[in-house]
Symmetry: C2
Subunit: 193 residues, 2 copies
DNA sequence: GTTCTTTAATGACATATGTCATCGTTTCAG
DNA sequence: CTGAAACGATGACATATGTCATTAAAGAAC
């Protein structure tokens, strides 16, 4: 269960962990299971945990005034899922986070964060996490404002084929910023080539 | 010149600076002036500096196959401008960065970064910078996939009125992900209410 | 297995945005 | 001051995407 988390920490920090730190990390991240469609966060709540996905698939989405869902993030094994703004600033979230498959998580509550950030390796890891997330969301933003819906879908297929396999089309569409009918037509267009 | 930088560092870290650190910071960030339309980074180059804007206005943009520009970031006084991915990973940038007004910068070269990251206050500050950038670009992404062009422009007017004042419409349009003609029509629509 | 729900495809039509061309105004270098 | 370039507004039309309705297939619950 914890191997994947330690592997992740190791990959993103060059500081080794002491055995005391390893023990405290075990206590700080606690396992939690979610069934498909169970939620980790409801809009309006403060996000109380940073979750590491050991197994399964999650998504983070907002709902607009017309009731349309907009998927801001998809995440599978070895990804983090959290509303970082809400978690860090303790402000109500505008997002929902839910499991799209039966999912095994390791949860770090906000309360434990301060202590564990004292560990250089953990601090290093979270810095890399924020850097990577910043770089990834900047790329996605550039795609969103500069590519056609077709190109965005082709990029997704190329770089994150698992997402396309594991989430239904209406969620993929809401991730790309288009309607499910449009995605369906893009796909039929691609299959005719 | 350096007051704004030190104020920024102070705001985003609760660790005080030693007088030795203050001296080294002075040496590490060097002043640079740019005239309007001079560039700090060309696509294809590796981004060699993180720049703090003391006075002026800059933009970061990509150019697609059809020659259309897409503005990924606008920045004015007290903002940072850098292609963080290129700067950290030393990979060629897909972006251009140019001055849109005569601009006064403080430049931190990649070479000096490693040393200066040893200072807790600086590390803290850069972490906050990445966190803030991540949160901001996630918000903007959510806007891009969930709001109409009109709403995106209204948000920009509300939260960053200086951008609208200091950059011409074709740049604002490329920041919003629309064409300048569309922005012009949105504006005339708003002014008739 | 049977039934209910979810997912996906598709046609007809509506709307938003892009494209291209034109024109007047503003800005700015010489 | 003057001419060129940049900027902004607008009309006519093209294209991409959204909306709504219908149908069929796949999957989940009982």
């Amino acid at each position: 269960m914890y191997e994947a988390l330690f592997a992740y920490i190791k990959r993103y920090s060059n500081v080794p962990l002491t055995s005391n730190e390893i023990e405290i990390i075990h206590k700080s991240w606690v396992p939690q299971k979610l069934k498909k469609r169970e939620t980790l966060l409801h809009r309006g709540e403060i996000c109380k945990q940073t979750a590491f996905i050991v197994k399964g698939a999650m998504r983070q989405y907002s709902v607009d005034d017309s009731g349309n869902e907009h998927t801001i993030q998809l995440a599978i094994e070895n990804w983090w899922i959290v509303d970082r703004e809400s978690y860090l600033m303790r402000t109500p979230s505008v997002y929902n986070i839910e499991a799209w498959e039966d999912t095994q998580l390791l949860i770090l509550k906000r309360k434990e964060l301060e202590d564990i950030l004292e560990f250089p390796a953990i601090k290093e890891m979270f810095w890399h996490m924020d850097q990577n997330n910043y770089i990834a969301s900047q790329k996605r933003l550039n795609d969103a404002i500069s590519l056609t819906a077709l190109n965005r879908y082709e990029n997704l297929l190329k770089y994150y084929p698992d997402f396309v396999k594991r989430f239904p089309q209406h969620i993929i569409a809401s991730y790309l910023g288009i309607k499910k009918e449009t995605l369906s037509r893009i796909r039929s267009q691609l299959s005719q080539q």
